[in-house]
Symmetry: C2
DNA sequence: ATGGATGCAAAGTGTTTGCAGCCAG
DNA sequence: CTGGCTGCAAACACTTTGCATCCAT
């Protein structure tokens, strides 16, 4: 917790209880919550928290590269505390969003950089499909049928 | 134009003048228009066209895999007539969206498929950065300074 | 003939903004 | 002290929906 405040300070962001709480939620979960999710998660501990503050804070975190906004085609954006940019996999069956840590992206990017005359600053990569768990569940169902 | 109607019919979509016009715009441009862009483009030729129809049609095209919705983090979605799924490159300077046709994605996907136990059905890949033209413009400015 | 498509207006949803009061630095 | 942050409500922008009418098949 201490260290989170340090990170914020290092980015020259004022450390308020709200900010810390929002950043903490984002930092400690891997569930890629929406602004609303974060707001709901904090209502009990921070009864005065406002959704606008969540949005404003997420915006500040984004601008300081402490968070990434995911646009997976859903109605609302989901967020991820950025440690290092990475692709995401969305299960079309259960809706789960999974972080993908792989080095293969690097090669792909290098190829693209070479092929085109486009300077890549950042990227967003989403894979849609079926996750391991849902796959085995489907197998189970087949057997039971 | 004839063939566009055929494509729609093949997907069992009723061929109405509105649909044809919307699909034509999408099919013949590479500018990745928003729903509003398409609506504006067609107002003159189709004065009764409604924005709701554009949205409904885009939805129908999407469901039939004739169009793709791009979520590049902008306020509004942009659309692309799907010939074949491909990555997009967004210039952060001029806002242009460029189609990227490369085979390197295939290798990347195969690697990921092997590394994880996730069945990939589709993907969305966006690269953000500076396009060739904006790059040379920046060079020009440097020289002129 | 008839089920789906159109088009208008109204409603909905996620997000942003204005502003007064507040608090971290 | 002071500029930035909070929180409320109102405003916004994009998208969806309801429904009567229309038209492609």
């Amino acid at each position: 917790m201490e260290q989170l405040a340090e990170i914020l300070k290092a980015k020259k962001l004022k450390v308020t209880p709200q900010r810390l709480a929002i950043y903490k939620v984002l930092y400690e979960t891997s569930s890629h919550p929406t602004a609303e999710d974060i707001y709901t998660a904090l209502r009990q501990s921070h009864p005065t928290m406002s959704l606008a503050t969540v949005y404003k804070t997420l915006d500040a975190l984004k601008k300081s590269d402490l968070a990434t906004e995911l646009n997976i085609g859903d109605d609302s954006s989901r967020y991820d505390a950025t440690i290092k940019s990475h692709p995401h996999m969305i299960c079309l069956n259960c809706g789960k969003v999974i972080d993908l840590h792989t080095d293969s992206l690097k090669d792909f990017k290098e190829n693209v950089q070479k092929e085109t005359d486009f300077d890549i600053v950042s990227e967003k990569v989403y894979f849609y499909g079926t996750c391991k768990e849902c796959k085995s569940k489907k197998e189970q169902n087949k057997i039971n049928d």
